[in-house]
Symmetry: C2
Subunit: 136 residues, 2 copies
Amino acid sequence: MVIRPALSKGEMEVARVLWEIGPAAVRAIHEAVLKERECDFATVQTYLRRMEAKGYATSKLEGRVRIYAAKARPRTVIRETVDDLVERLFGGETMPLVRHLIEERGIGAKDIAELRKLVDALDNSDHQEDRKEPRK
Amino acid sequence: MVIRPALSKGEMEVARVLWEIGPAAVRAIHEAVLKERECDFATVQTYLRRMEAKGYATSKLEGRVRIYAAKARPRTVIRETVDDLVERLFGGETMPLVRHLIEERGIGAKDIAELRKLVDALDNSDHQEDRKEPRK
DNA sequence: TTGAAACGCGTACAACTGTACGGCTAGAAT
DNA sequence: ATTCTAGCCGTACAGTTGTACGCGTTTCAA
């Protein structure tokens, strides 16, 4: 298991965009980022370089254009990031965060249904002896 | 609303501990931190100073000892932090994070029950016209 | 074919972070 | 009274982050 430096906040956004649109040139990535936040082209470029250095992305020159692709999968990055946050801000307990999200962030009616399914699924896998140990 | 600099990861841990034990001297805070992580006294001290500078804590000299107290409430800090994370890593959508937490982090049987209650409560307040708009 | 637009790449730089040392001093122990 | 201890405070320092400029070069349009 590699211990790469965590993504910075700025890099996270670029990572997310990159997962979304798939391998792309800086230009395209920048445009995608722009759709949700004002941000200089060169800044995105720097983030990408740093992401590659940290091992979160790869790139290759395609003619004159450098194409970046995500290397780490969202799942993994999200796990690492969230685990860290939960550890630091919630002392390792998951529920307070879940509670916060449900109570404070507004969940649409549609999502409530899904939520219920999720809980049901959890309940089942729990009844027949879990492989996934509660982490705290 | 003040826009204070965000807490750094290290500061977050100290903040959490400080909420937990209430106003205390650096020594006590350090000891509490030590219970979960190796960390130098002076480091904690620096974090506290910085937290005060950023507006997350206050302090006063009590004799020779400086007593630190949390200034920002957990609720608020958690909201700020989580909102930011959700924005950056999940493009502002709450559900993917909730899903991740429920599916990947292991929820104990006890918590499943609570979770169900939470969802029910949500459902109710949703039926009788919410004041809390879904945030996405 | 010549100038403009686009791009990679090196570089910059201040602010923030993680982590800690060491001097000074008030109170405790001898 | 002298020394030891603990605590505050200033300071440090390398690494990270946010943000970007500008050079050199390629390509495309005029």
